[in-house]
Subunit: 439 residues, 4 copies
């Protein structure tokens, strides 16, 4: 392994006393929290795309990074150089997982055959690097949105040949993920949506997407992949409207196509807020609907209307998220993937370390604070008490279907119900949360 980040050995836990900016202050992988190590709870993953493929462009500016692994005229050489640096970074960041798109790791080539060959070559290299470093694959995916052929969607494209191209990429990306021991396979419908309803047949495109997902599920069993299939919701961008808008929308889609037991969601913080929801809301909703899978841990900007994909740095926001996850029993195959990128101005070679270290400590601290919320027990009790009457006579009779609407109305009349007002106690509960976070 070449040493690109030659000033850094490896990031380790040094605790809050350290002044070393290249150390974890809160993330102690081996520390036990509620019966599991922090590493087991958090299952951190670093993404290939933002970290090693993005050149520092934005819609108004050209690339600012000038990475050496983007300098060769030979795409495959670049891919290999990139893999060297990527695994050096994964290792030095001391995280157990990484995640990639097919074309992050292997050049597309000029034909399907070339694509397949390149991906095959690179999969072997990645496997070797996984074995060398101990870094594992959290999930793989196929990029079916960058190539201009996907301008009008992949599975939902008006041209079935484009559907076929997407299917091809997914087959090979699933194979690669399987070979690399990936724990999940993610589908993000980057352009599964519309620019204008004027040229769109919603019902047709939904059928196409339903069929695609059914085929993916079938293929999973066929190849013996044991990981979890995940869809990542996003409401819009690059399109005007995307079909995988949010958790609730995906749930309806899965129900329609009989997939709600087969596919779960990979929720991204920034996509949640773009959809008009809090991150906590999306996570709690997925859990309540039994489709929670994994997280893309990042943050958006509350004042901006696009996907800024910044590193998470809010313990306040993520404590609430980790609290939902802890209550639900924690991750199974999922984890915390940093779908996040340094800022275009962050051109120092080590800024990417600062970004990830801050993010990791943020999530680690959030886990600890969430554990305190659990241990405090008052939150849980307050909620249990609030709904307690649903376990008593009237409540049970209603929920068990023992009373018709008219019988309930009759009961109200006979008893002249005047339900006693109860405080929602929001301020009190918020103070309990802040005590867990700030002492």
């Amino acid at each position: 392994m070449k040493h690109y980040y030659d000033q850094i050995e490896r990031i380790n836990y040094e605790g809050t006393q350290t002044n070393n900016p290249f150390a974890f202050r809160h993330y102690n992988p081996e520390q036990i929290i509620l019966g599991k190590t922090m590493a087991e709870h958090l299952r951190f993953s670093i993404c290939y795309w933002h970290t090693f493929c993005w050149a520092g462009t934005d819609m108004f500016g050209s690339g600012s990074f000038n990475y050496p692994w983007q300098s060769s005229a030979d795409p495959l050489s670049n891919a290999k150089a990139k893999a060297d640096v990527a695994f050096e970074f994964f290792y030095k960041m001391n995280v157990p997982f990484y995640a990639f798109h097919d074309v992050d790791v292997a050049p597309e080539g000029n034909s399907i055959q070339e694509y397949i060959n390149n991906l095959s070559i690179m999969t072997d290299i990645l496997l070797e690097k996984q074995q060398q470093t101990g870094v594992k694959l959290l999930w793989g995916t196929a990029n079916c949105f960058t190539n201009p052929r996907y301008a009008a969607g992949a599975a939902t494209n008006p041209d079935p040949e484009v559907f076929a191209c997407a299917a091809t990429q997914v087959v090979h990306a699933m194979n690669a993920t399987h070979k690399l021991g990936g724990q999940n396979y993610v589908l993000w419908g980057g352009r599964e949506g519309y620019e204008t309803l004027l040229n769109t047949n919603l019902r047709q495109e939904r059928e196409q997407l339903g069929k695609f997902m059914q085929l993916v599920v079938e293929n999973k069993y066929k190849i013996g992949f044991n990981g979890t299939l995940l869809i990542e919701p996003k409401p819009q961008e690059p399109t005007k409207h995307q079909y995988d808008y949010d958790v609730a929308t995906i749930y309806g889609f899965l129900k329609q196509f009989g997939l709600e037991k087969e596919i779960k969601v990979n929720i991204e913080a920034n996509h949640a807020t773009l959809a008009g929801h809090s991150f906590q809301h999306e996570v709690a909703s997925a859990i309540a609907l039994d489709i929670f899978g994994s997280l893309d841990a990042n943050r958006g900007d509350p004042q901006l209307g696009w996907d800024t994909d910044q590193f998470p740095n809010s313990v306040e926001e993520n404590t609430l998220v980790m609290y939902e996850i802890l209550k639900s029993g924690g991750f199974t195959t999922g984890g915390l993937n940093f779908d996040a990128k340094i800022r275009r101005q962050s051109i120092d070679k080590y800024d990417v370390f600062h970004g990830h270290i801050g993010a990791i400590d943020t999530m680690a601290l959030s886990l600890k604070c969430a554990a305190k919320m659990i241990e405090d027990k008052r939150l849980d009790q307050k909620v249990a008490e609030r709904y307690a009457d649903w376990d008593k006579n009237l409540g049970k009779d209603i929920l068990q279907g023992n009373m018709s609407l008219q019988e309930i109305a009759q009961y109200s009349l006979v008893n002249n119900l005047q339900p006693k007002a109860r405080s929602g106690a929001q301020e009190q509960l918020e103070n309990i949360v802040n005590k867990a976070i700030f002492g």
Copy 2:
């Protein structure tokens, strides 16, 4: 009938040549459009609540209207005086329908028995007025959100007694709607949502809401009501998050509780935009999901984050909406209910006429423009052509399930697919729309 609006006889169609502001310029009820009269297509309805119950308050100001029917100390006298003016107005506005909440038309009283009695008295009065004026009921509903008992929700309240109170209102509002020949019954979950996840059990509240809707469906059959049950989506306000967020969310809810064939949606323009969608999107989505029912025709303000409930005045926006509806075959039991209110400064007695006349002409013109879009045929053809390959070999094989994902990938490789780029033609289609609207 007393004559409150004594300067107006009735609003009639006078065409675009008139200078009379109290005439329709575009809405000619008897005019045939695509084989049906405009009245049959549009099925206009006026709402009781904004028009006769709202006093002109807002969150920062007290009432500006001083209506005579809000002046008596006896609530039932007020209710009767209000009914007089309401039906005078419905009649003079020349619309076929109206809509109401239980407590819009009858005082709540101080007990459930009083509520039932008041509603019964007023239902008889409304029936008589319907017969006198020929105005019919588009839909009835129960207001389960204004009374403080519903502060934490109705069906989703932590207290089953509150659920029972809501059930009581719905039973009696359904009875009243049935007796009055209402063509639909609407459920708007005004506070079915949460203020903070900290005091909320999402799964529990969802179960409660599902049970409630199942009971409502059952009750519909029991009382022999032939109308359509409708849920009205709204994403938030007054709560932080409402469970009937948008059409896609409601679809998932209906699927979970086996209700997708029993309940449809009543889509409000302003709620669509608050949810981050265009009005057209919500209508088109409901149609694509087979749950389209009825419309609350109003408008929000694109720069404001609350429900301004203004009268619709955009032909551009509503032409697209009417186009979706025409393509789908038009309303069945649904219609265009003006869930809209004049501005707090519109204190002239006749401003409410201007509001409704403008709205009616806007929707009538939108219908005509949408019919031109249909007649032009190019839009339909362009969309049909765009997806035409899905009716050919590869497309059919995929959708009919004749190929596995791997077989599709193999097909792509063998044929080295390089799908030909196709223009989405958005600019061209938009020009066709504007030709339909503006000539």
Copy 3:
């Protein structure tokens, strides 16, 4: 003083070890931070309106609180009862200040004379209560937005008689504020804006508002009031657009009317976010423009488009705000007024304590964290270094006006400038902030 909150003596600092929810965990009034006591830094104030006047209504619901001081048929008795409870609460909350609108404390009456008399009576009572409790007045203001006469604005009303009514209220509210030793006088242009440009003469209304503010300044000197005049920005709500949109807009207005040395701003967190800005942005902007005055410390909801006026509970957000204020030298006459209300469901008598205690601890902790950011020195140094070249030759020549644009261009050419890229170091700086907050 009657004892309404009879379960509470007074809220005191008990530190983080306490389990008493009715104690401060972080706010220790006497503790010295960067050379001043926390009380001197934070200058907390409780508002009369939300806390004692709001009945728990919202746009979809009637009042949920049923306060005893809203129960009498005699408005003046209610006002006195309310003052008793208000000062009991101010005292028990252990804050140095309160704030009020004229009609919060005194009934409007049925004529201007009655208004003046009522305000005069109540001012005497407030003065006595101030002396009894030691609570002081942070600021007074006049409510020129609730009465329907202000539906189309106060100073910007098309009717000069309405302007005159507003002037009347401001004269008497300023007198009351002066008599009560108020340290500031605030103007919030609740309806100084428009609902539609169609009925609005922007230039005329701006002239009216400019004249109004000039008269207020003149009156301040005339009555010998030594406090600071403050305008509170808000972008919209209840109107479509308000002229005091944000800090930058107010700055332009003040400059146009020659008032930038006479009037400062009272910035509210929730108004900042409604305007599309972070709270920190608005504070930093006001400081950079030399018009920073005071704060309404509250919070909005990042997903909601109206003024939720919740209690501040984010240490992360408010640390950045306090950091700006500390860097600028701290408050002079301004302070932290809690323009915040408990939730409509918070019907427990003591919820208002929880709301304020949480808010006070949040701001106190934010002060401490901001002090650590100052003491850490790295943030300040990084910024100083970043701009250091502006103190060297080229920078100084440019800023001091020694070079024309063409001379600068010539300099660039001759030296073939290729400025060296520099990292913005955002991730690193954010980690420093989180270290200050979380250790």
Copy 4:
């Protein structure tokens, strides 16, 4: 001139009877509206950047257009080929004006000297093409945001050498604009803003920007440029916050640096809505503040939070804008520049015609409808009547400064003012507007 668009001769007015999609239906350049030709009123301009420089990329996708003038390895050859097509298009679109950035028309080169040489060569070519085609320059500008050197801003960069580079580009872009007879020179502060306040000195950056603008004004006079200087507001994107946020913000900035008579604004529709304002609001505000200059006519998407720069297609929106402009006397040096781009899927060579034709007809029709609003006179009268009392005694005394605040209060008391409520008549006025648009 090569013929790239070989299927099109020139777009001409054919009226609403035509079925030719490559004709104007509403824009008849010679038709007289309120005393001027439509061409004189509208002053259409086509932009170089979106139309000929953008490759069809977005943040998630690579270029979809494959233009021949982007294919050569020699940048200057590309620039020449691009100029050929650009002027062919300007001519065929039958518009009087175009607009460009320096680097749209000339390659940046590898040094400042190369940049100057390239721009000089291309300026000569453009001049020749202007003479051949009769197309004139509405405005020129310098792109000080794409090159990575501007990542942290141009005039507001922490590095004065970057300021100097920007100054260099502006000097040469102003010279080119002057030589080409440009009627305006525009400054868009693409990155004059911040990503995080943590690394930003707001006061310092504001001083830099003020100095820069002062130098630009000085340079204008020095080179004898008679056109208008314009700043284009935009609230954010690509940065978190831009200093030229909106019209009101720019006004305050101009006042601070004594530039309000020297610089006006170029308002873009999409930037208006990103700032939370209607397009009409921004135009009306600029007119009321005497800084209205020119327009970038495009549209955003009401549901999307980034600059979609679509072609304007709303007659409803633009009628209100044209109404403000007509009332103000119309454009002087400004015009309607289409800062708009076809969609990434619009890969048909002629889609760019459809986009511009639709946009031109939209604005032409908006002009006609606005003229009808003027001719109807009722709108103007209603507004005049609404404020009429300000020309009577009390109103005049107030505005002319004849009464102090206390005297006004005394007047109110003596006369016991009870201002009569007046309707804002919003619904009525909106109906008048729709009559002007739709008949």
